[in-house]
């Protein structure tokens, strides 16, 4: 390893090959145009090329890849949801994640930690028992544990929550819960897609979409017009800026979600801990930083600004739960955009406009779904038929009053 580092220090030019080469100009025509170079868009492009042999694909990203929700989440991966539809979908994602470092030949630091969702009242323990039963039914490893078990696994956790907050009655324990390096997921999919011939255009903003006779005809960008008959919108928090271009109404409302990291510490927090009552979730990254997030900002806002009120409240709750962290410093704080749906499930698949496919409604649960959403959206685009796993998530469920109420994601989802 030191020799490799020396090479970096002494070489005049960067000694490693680039992850991918950005083409200079847009082609006149692509078979598929993906709007949004986040994990979801890049994964869809990758699976279009790998699984369906469609390689004449452009990914258009208005900033740099992974600059949106992909690089702003708290990198938690789990599948202990409340609806059978959600459990099956997210569990497929975990199965894909487990092999992803090997498949994409890049170390994603996928680290299985075990995930605790704390219950601070008998009522919330009942809801978690419900979740555990649904989970077992669809083959998700998940069970209720008592405070003694929690104390054994998390000795630093104050089960009394400082005495002034509701104490811990138990938890939903989900052993497969994991974390991963989120930006690496975007980069790995980008490299994999580019190797297969996909063009990734960064700094390319979509300004309008051409629709003729209810069929997509092309996209206008700040670098020119592209002819295409298939467009995937995979822009999460920016979806409400794209859907008006094709005249589509959606239930999406954008809220910011803030998070922060502390200075790095030696490894001490093995597990991922979530408390909906305290509006907190926390894990320790492979770099040793505590990564903590809270609940959504309480009103609609399409901006990634941070607030002091958030970090004050989150830090207070963190100390209530883990008194040992009271002297450590917060390193940085940021916000990501969450496109929230009324039933806390995503909106995926075909739309009333032919050739316009939607991958949206990712709220606080997008990162963990990156592989499965890429795979299922690629299938949907290639065959023009919604993949079986995402059929329940089609936009038409609202008009049919057939919602997928995913309370397992609510409060402090992610």
């Amino acid at each position: 390893m030191p020799y490799r580092l020396l090479k970096f220090a002494l070489a005049k030019e960067y000694p490693e090959p680039r992850m991918f080469h950005s083409p200079d100009v847009l082609k006149d025509e692509y078979d598929v145009v993906v709007i949004g170079g986040g994990g979801h868009g890049l994964a869809a492009a990758y699976y279009l090329a790998m699984n369906h042999g469609i390689t004449n694909v452009a990914v258009l990203e208005k900033s740099y890849i992974g600059s949106g929700g992909t690089g702003r989440n708290t990198a938690i991966i789990r599948s202990n949801y409340l609806t059978p539809e959600g459990c099956r979908f997210y569990n497929t994602s975990i199965e894909l994640f487990k092999d992803l470092s090997r498949t994409l030949d890049l170390n994603l630091f996928y680290s299985q930690r075990g995930h605790f969702t704390l219950a601070h009242s008998p009522a919330s323990l009942n809801t978690q028992r419900w979740r555990a039963e649904v989970n077992k039914q669809v083959g998700v490893d998940s069970r209720i544990v008592d405070p003694a078990f929690i104390g054994d696994r998390l000795p630093q956790l104050d089960l009394a929550c400082g005495g002034h907050l509701p104490p811990v009655y138990g938890a939903l324990y989900h052993p497969p819960g994991a974390i991963a390096r989120h930006d690496a997921v975007a980069w790995a999919y980008a490299r994999g897609a580019a190797r297969k011939g996909v063009d990734i255009h960064q700094q390319t903003c979509v300004t309008d979409i051409e629709v003729r006779d209810d069929q997509v005809a092309g996209v206008h960008t700040d670098k020119g017009f592209i002819k295409t008959r298939k467009i995937l919108s995979a822009v999460a928090g920016w979806t409400t800026s794209v859907t008006p271009m094709v005249g589509l109404r959606t239930p999406l409302v954008i809220h910011p979600l803030q998070a922060m990291v502390t200075e790095p510490l030696k490894p001490w927090l093995d597990h991922i801990v979530v408390s909906a009552t305290l509006h907190l979730y926390v894990s320790q990254s492979s770099r040793g930083e505590l990564v903590a997030g809270g609940s959504l900002d309480p009103y609609e806002l399409i901006s990634t600004r941070s607030t002091l009120g958030f970090s004050e409240q989150l830090a207070g709750r963190l100390i209530d739960l883990f008194p040992c962290v009271s002297q450590i410093n917060v390193l940085r704080q940021w916000a990501g955009l969450c496109d929230m749906t009324p039933d806390f499930s995503p909106i995926m698949g075909k739309t009333p406009i032919k050739g316009f496919y939607l991958d949206a409604g990712w709220g606080t649960w997008g990162f963990k779904a990156t592989p499965v959403s890429g795979m299922t959206m690629a299938y949907t685009i290639a065959h023009d038929v919604d993949h079986a796993l995402i059929k329940p998530f089609n936009l038409d469920r609202y008009a049919q009053f057939r919602l997928v109420g995913e309370k397992g994601a609510a409060a402090v989802g992610h």
Binding site: T239, T240, S241, T243, P244, R249, T250, P251, L252, V253, I254, P298, Y299, E300, L301, I302, S303, R305, G309, D339, P342, Y398, A399, Q400, F401
Partner: protein, 88 residues
């Protein structure tokens, strides 16, 4: 601290307020189709821009309308629903 101007109580901190969503007119339940009703129940105009929204001052129980930019978080003006300006 963010300050919001309540039309009854004047400038107050954000913590005293609750967001109530955009101001929308309910279609006639008897005269609208299922599609129109579903559109009213679920769909929202989520695109960035200046919107008319319901806000609630918790301490005094005052519902009022705010015109707010959802990108910059700037409150352009606030007024009671019945006092809606002619250009509003």
């Amino acid at each position: 601290m963010k300050i919001i101007y309540c039309p009854v109580n004047g400038p107050r901190p954000l913590q005293e307020f609750r967001f109530g969503g955009e101001v929308r007119l309910m279609p006639d339940p008897d005269g609208s189709s299922d599609e129109q009703w579903a559109d009213y129940v679920f769909n929202r105009s989520g695109e960035p821009g200046i919107k008319r929204e319901w806000w609630y001052h918790i301490a005094s129980g005052t519902w009022f309308v705010a015109e707010r930019n959802t990108v910059t978080d700037e409150f352009i003006r606030t007024y009671l629903y019945e006092d809606q300006p002619d250009d509003g």
